[in-house]
Amino acid sequence: MSVELSKKGQVLTATGLAAGYDGRAIVSDIDIEATPGKVISIVGPNGSGKSTLLKSLVGVVRVLDGTVKVGDTVITNTPSEEVAKIGVGYVPQIDDVFPPLSVKENLEIGGYLLARHEIRGRIDAVLEFFPKLKAMMSRKAGKLSGGERKMLAMGRVLMLSPSVLVLDEPTANLAPIVATQLLEEYIRGFADFGSTVLLVEQRAKAALRISDWTYVLGGGRVVLDGAPDDLAQNPIFIESFLGGGAATHAPKD
């Protein structure tokens, strides 16, 4: 990676976590750990609570039980603006940009916590990473295509050089080739650089290919977890995610 966009990571852990809406738990008994230099992925069927879990880690959804930590700092139910400040960058699955603001303004808001004189340089660094955005700086984010919009959403969160990246389906709506590039070059790249990456990814095969460890969520609980090579051999995992029998060898070739 020519530009350093993220920082060396910190460990993100959740222990005995339960979280949900209006005091009702959607996810419970969650124990997960994301470590620097690794891509940790979460897969699971629609409605299994993947987004709710990520939201509870970053202070968007209320934690009802258990602890969330970044390094040694407890961040359970810390307001999300404080979570951003300690270096956790979160890209939500939907509503991931500010539609009426221009691309440039979206990036500026991403750098809201930076000093005024730092913002320009950061925007240049992010644009070097996502050069396609250069040509559309004054366009409103609401007018971007799905793929351009995802790049902007990633760009926004990179403005603060996060040490922990929490990404909720960053490849949704992307053309397969772009999705692969985003996962295998950029997202894997952040981890290789030393950042911590926690990723929700619908496509199990793609998730296994770039992950160091994968958690499988079902009905709001972790039902399975393991290294990608092991999961790829696991009959239950194959049955539910790899389309039964189709993938009998590890997807990492």
């Binding site: 202070g59 307001p79 999300s80 940009v97 009426p100 991403g110 809201y112 916590l113």
Partner: protein, 286 residues
């Protein structure tokens, strides 16, 4: 021609009020129907300062502060506690309607039912673009222009203004970007409240004589102007205010003064039916 001139001044007053109203609604998500009563209360504070021998234009500062502080307090002690309970948004609207009645009739109980007017020189008259305008009217137009340019500059070029727009567009994502949205929202109540107080005082000066209930139907004009221009759009507010201001005055002159507010109502309903996000506003995409 004179009704067009009147329309222009009412439009300028309405524009000042609408810019504050639309900013308040867009950023805080509260449709504050008590805006009109805060306007008239602010006007009365300016009036009392003026009665103590202070020039009307200096007394206006009292009205601006009243609007800012009253709006901030209203949010802090009424709207925020209600919003925290996760009730349907209509609840807060109904509460604001109650506040509006209390604000207006509470004021009436204190100041009585009579008409009052500022001690103020209307100044000399000027011919301006074919219209005959008093210096009071010219100053109102000047204030309106300053408010529009100021608010535009705030929203477009300052860190606070961009944070206000981000908070308006997507509050949760704004917080994820490190913005303390509660602080941004309180500040918005102060700024939009100051504009409300300014608008109230200027409205009363322009009316010549006014009483506690003078701004009671003003909310209809505000809503119409806001929806015409698109909620949250300062230039839209100006466009909406000019359209409503001129339309109501001209219709008052040529049809029947009683139809003034009805015209605003018709425009409001038409907008809600056909373009609820305004002429300039765009649908918030999700």
């Amino acid at each position: 021609m004179s009704s067009l001139g009147f329309g222009l001044i009412s439009a300028a007053v309405l524009a000042i009020a609408t810019v504050g109203f639309t900013m308040q609604f867009a950023v805080t998500n509260v449709l504050n129907l008590a805006y009109g009563s805060i306007m008239i209360n602010s006007a009365f504070v300016s009036y009392y300062v003026n009665q103590h021998g202070v020039t009307a234009w200096v007394a206006l500062v009292g009205g601006v502060l009243t609007g800012a502080i009253a709006s901030w307090l209203l949010n802090r002690f009424v709207y925020t506690p209600f919003q925290r309970r996760n009730l349907a948004p209509i609840t807060v609207v109904i509460v604001s309607l109650g506040i509006d009645l209390m604000g207006t009739f509470g004021l009436q109980a204190i100041v009585g039912g009579g008409f009052v007017s500022f001690t103020q020189n209307q100044g000399s008259e000027y011919h301006f673009a074919g219209l005959l305008l008093s210096s009071l009217q010219l100053i109102i137009i000047g204030i309106c222009a300053a408010v529009l340019v100021g608010v535009h500059g705030l929203l477009k070029y300052t860190r606070l203004g961009k944070a206000m727009r981000a908070t308006s567009a997507n509050r949760s994502l704004a917080r994820n970007s490190g913005i303390k949205t509660n602080y941004i929202i309180s500040t918005t109540w102060l700024i939009s409240g100051a504009l409300c107080g300014l608008a109230g005082t200027v409205f009363a000066m322009n009316a010549g004589v006014f009483e506690a209930t003078s701004a009671q139907l003003y909310i209809v004009l505000l809503l119409a102007a806001m929806f015409l221009g698109g909620p949250g759009e300062p230039y839209g507010a100006m466009f909406g205010a000019i359209t409503i201001g001129v339309a109501t005055e001209v219709s008052a002159a040529y049809i029947n003064p009683d139809y003034k507010d009805v015209i605003a109502f018709v425009v409001l309903i038409a907008m809600l039916m056909f373009r609820p996000f305004g002429i300039f506003g765009s649908e918030k995409t999700n």
